[in-house]
């Protein structure tokens, strides 16, 4: 089966596939994060979510995040997938698998990845409620030097 380590998918995410991809004989730790659809947000009940992506740029940005992680934590191996389309409560929206020789880097790098995804990857979430819907996204000013610089 073809394996893209940084991909946008339209079907349910198979977590094991990404764990298997990052595992290798020198890896002593694998961390797996999944982001799942939450029913209640600030007291409002979500019926389901709809995700949309600028797919080629999103995959490129996820690969860049992977490269940032490899530079910051040498020896890590990374796979990231984000699902788009309609997702139901508890469905997996994103999976991040990170392996490293020792566990600390795997934990730290994994958290870095989700923070960066929320900053720079062109993916959008719409919450659909019983009485309405809204595209989610924080207001922010146009960056002076580009959003991905840190």
């Amino acid at each position: 089966m073809e394996m893209k380590p940084f991909e946008i998918v339209e079907t349910p995410i198979d977590v094991q596939k990404y764990m298997d991809y990052v595992l290798h004989p020198s890896a002593g730790a694998v961390t797996v994060f999944t982001g799942n659809v939450r029913e209640w947000t600030h007291g409002v009940k979500t019926l389901y979510l709809s995700y949309e992506a600028y797919i080629p740029m999103a995959e490129k940005k996820m690969a860049e995040i992977g490269a940032e992680m490899e530079a910051k934590w040498p020896g890590v191996r990374v796979a990231i997938a984000h699902r788009i389309g309609e997702l139901q409560i508890s469905d997996i929206a994103v999976v991040i698998a990170v392996s490293s020789p020792h566990r600390k880097a795997a934990y730290d790098a994994n958290e870095y990845a989700i923070d960066r995804i929320k900053e720079v990857v062109p993916i959008w979430k719409k919450e659909i409620w019983e009485d309405g819907e809204e595209w989610i996204g924080a207001q922010k000013k146009y960056p002076e030097k580009g959003v991905e610089q840190k």
Partner: protein, 77 residues
């Protein structure tokens, strides 16, 4: 000709996923001004522009043949 893509809130506001502008070149700031004038409620103050799949600054120049995208605040994860 400059191609522009719309996503999420902006795709719904404009009623289209993409269109082409008959321009030879323009800056990112000019593109945002054009969008704001063309589509009331565009909210260009809160939209970034990607040129050829890379975030661009307001002074950057877009040329004919480039593919642009309006990027409203992202909310993946």
């Amino acid at each position: 000709m400059i191609k522009v893509n719309y996503f999420a809130r902006l795709r719904e506001l404009t009623g289209k996923g993409e269109e082409s502008l008959e321009r030879e070149s323009m800056t990112v700031a000019e593109l945002l001004d054009w969008a704001e004038e063309t589509y009331p409620g565009f909210g260009a103050d809160n939209v970034q522009v990607a040129v050829n799949e890379e975030y661009a600054l307001k002074d950057d120049v877009i040329k004919s043949g480039d593919v642009c995208a309006f990027i409203p605040p992202v909310s993946g994860g």
